[in-house]
């Protein structure tokens, strides 16, 4: 860990927090609820504050430079592309299921269904963004 920069440590912590909090989302998909999504958002915020504070305390040099900013931009670009692709795919699937009758658009669960799908997309895009940045630090830029 000593050879990692402050930003790299911060990214590894973010990835761990994302996997711990968001991981169950995909495995417990049948039990989704507004409370569960809200709980995850609060959970990720609390866990991030704890982990990032610990890293800030135990890292002497917190310098960031132009390479950090370039890698950050690269991460946001891949995150955006992932989110945009999933959005198109997700909307297409919702339209398809609604057309063939698998999804009742007038049912009371439609709001939760949309929330689940879009929250899942955000999670995947966020993890993609963080993972891309970690890979960029380890590879040629």
């Amino acid at each position: 860990m000593a050879s990692l920069s402050y930003r790299e440590k911060s990214l590894y912590a973010s990835l761990v927090a994302e996997l711990i909090v968001y991981g169950p989302y995909f495995f417990l998909h049948q039990q989704n609820s507004v409370n569960k999504v809200a709980g995850m958002i609060v959970g990720i915020i609390v866990l991030q504050i704890i982990l990032q504070s610990a890293i800030a305390i135990f890292t002497r040099s917190r310098v960031t430079d132009e390479r950090d900013r370039l890698i950050e931009l690269r991460g946001y670009r891949s995150g955006y592309l992932t989110l945009a692709s999933l959005m198109v795919l997700g909307l297409g699937m919702l339209w398809f299921h609604a057309t063939v009758g698998h999804l009742q658009l007038d049912s009371g669960m439609i709001g939760l269904h949309f929330l689940s799908v879009f929250f899942g997309m955000l999670i995947i895009a966020d993890i993609t963004k963080t993972a891309t940045q970690i890979v960029a630090y380890r590879r040629t830029l």
Binding site: S3, L4, S5, Y6, R7, E8, S61, V63, T64, D65, E66, R67, D68, Y137, R139, T140, L141
Partner: protein, 71 residues
């Protein structure tokens, strides 16, 4: 081979300077100095000039452009 190559490692060693010392004087992280020395990162023009100034050599002695190299 990278399009922009440099002699940072050799020039730094000649001056007995550590990667951390060079990084501190240039205003970048040690990891960025490592990436530059391994030709894995081409710095901005501003950072490249700072590196040359800190190492006390003309710019072209520190950095070279290879048009056949990949970017």
């Amino acid at each position: 081979m990278a399009a922009i190559r440099n002699q940072i490692r050799e020039l730094r060693a000649l001056r007995g300077m550590t990667q951390q010392e060079l990084a501190d004087q240039v205003g970048v992280t040690r990891q960025t100095v490592i990436a530059m020395e391994q030709d894995k990162y081409s710095p901005s023009l501003e950072t490249a000039f700072k590196v040359a100034i800190v190492l006390g050599v003309p710019f072209e002695q520190c950095f070279q452009f290879d048009p056949r190299g990949k970017r």
